[in-house]
């Protein structure tokens, strides 16, 4: 019974990690330089989830964990800004290929998944409280 809590918690942790990368992508929407200050656009990141066999419950349920953080393969968005200090010889500035619509849909999905897992924890808790009512 208590493993269902661990499974739901693993989903909470994973969805929070996903939300973190989404907020990082949106925060860096206009970042044209890397951490060393060189003109290199930010590359959007995406997390991949994988089933976590460390947390398995009786009945075949298993948890989830962040498998890897992948970098977007999209080419950077080219914007004509000749006066920009990071513009190339043709006057184009490379901006990160962050699709705001996609990011917000993903964020909504992550936060709904988080809520759903909180709901599952609530159900597990209710079941357990009802079981305890038999003996105590």
């Amino acid at each position: 019974m208590l493993t269902s809590f661990d499974i739901s918690t693993s989903a909470l942790v994973a969805q929070r990690a996903r939300l973190n990368t989404i907020s990082s992508n949106i925060a860096n929407m206009s970042t044209t330089r890397n951490e060393r200050g060189e003109p290199e656009p930010f590359i959007p990141r995406y997390v991949t989830f994988q089933t976590d066999t460390d947390q398995t419950s009786y009945g075949g349920g298993s948890g989830v964990k962040v498998g890897s953080v992948e970098y977007s393969q999209e080419p950077p968005r080219m914007k004509y800004e000749p006066g920009h200090p990071d513009a190339d010889a043709q006057g184009y500035v490379k901006y990160p290929a962050v699709d705001m619509t996609m990011e917000f849909v993903d964020a909504l999905e992550a936060s709904r998944s988080y809520e759903a897992n909180v709901g599952v924890i609530e159900v597990s808790k209710n079941i357990m409280e009802n079981t305890l009512r038999i003996i105590a």
Binding site: D6, R16, L132
Partner: protein, 153 residues
């Protein structure tokens, strides 16, 4: 006489469980309070160690008493201060002293899996255990009250 009423049941055992879950709740609450503290390391009490100590204590308690051959079948009731049943009770309660050490040893994790979700998960599980122990405990007392008052409460 009272102590023998309590110690013959699971009351001392449940008392240890309630003590432990209360102590652990305090430690876990400290983790939540320090979620944003830089350099804070998550603390915890080991439920596994506690369970192991408790199992040892229970086994020591349920071990058959050492009876000297000179004391007959009814000799135990005539000499409560020797190796009779009362001294057995005392020894059995002493078995729980070792259990208390299990919740003085605080585990420290490095900051790898510090997350509010994990901490809250631990708190919920700890709370469930506490509720279970307190529930059974109050049931025990209800039975005792029923026996004393000779009336179904």
């Amino acid at each position: 006489m009272l102590s023998s009423i309590f110690s013959s049941s699971t009351v001392p055992l449940l008392e240890q469980v309630v003590n432990f879950t209360e102590a652990r709740h305090g430690v876990l609450a400290g983790n939540i309070a320090n979620l944003d503290t830089p350099g804070y390391k998550t603390r915890d009490l080991s439920p596994e160690l506690f369970q192991a100590q408790l199992r040892e204590a229970v086994e020591a308690r349920s071990a058959p008493p050492i009876q000297s051959s000179s004391i007959g079948q009814y000799g135990n009731y005539e000499s409560p201060h020797s190796t009779g049943p009362v001294s057995r009770v005392d020894r059995n309660l002493a078995a729980f002293d070792a259990v208390k050490n299990s919740y003085k040893s605080i585990l420290r994790h490095d900051g790898v899996d510090v997350s509010m979700e994990n901490q809250v998960n631990q708190i919920v599980k700890n709370q469930t255990e506490h509720n279970l122990a307190v529930g059974i405990l109050s049931n025990q007392f209800r039975l005792l009250r029923a026996a004393i008052s000779e009336r179904v409460a």
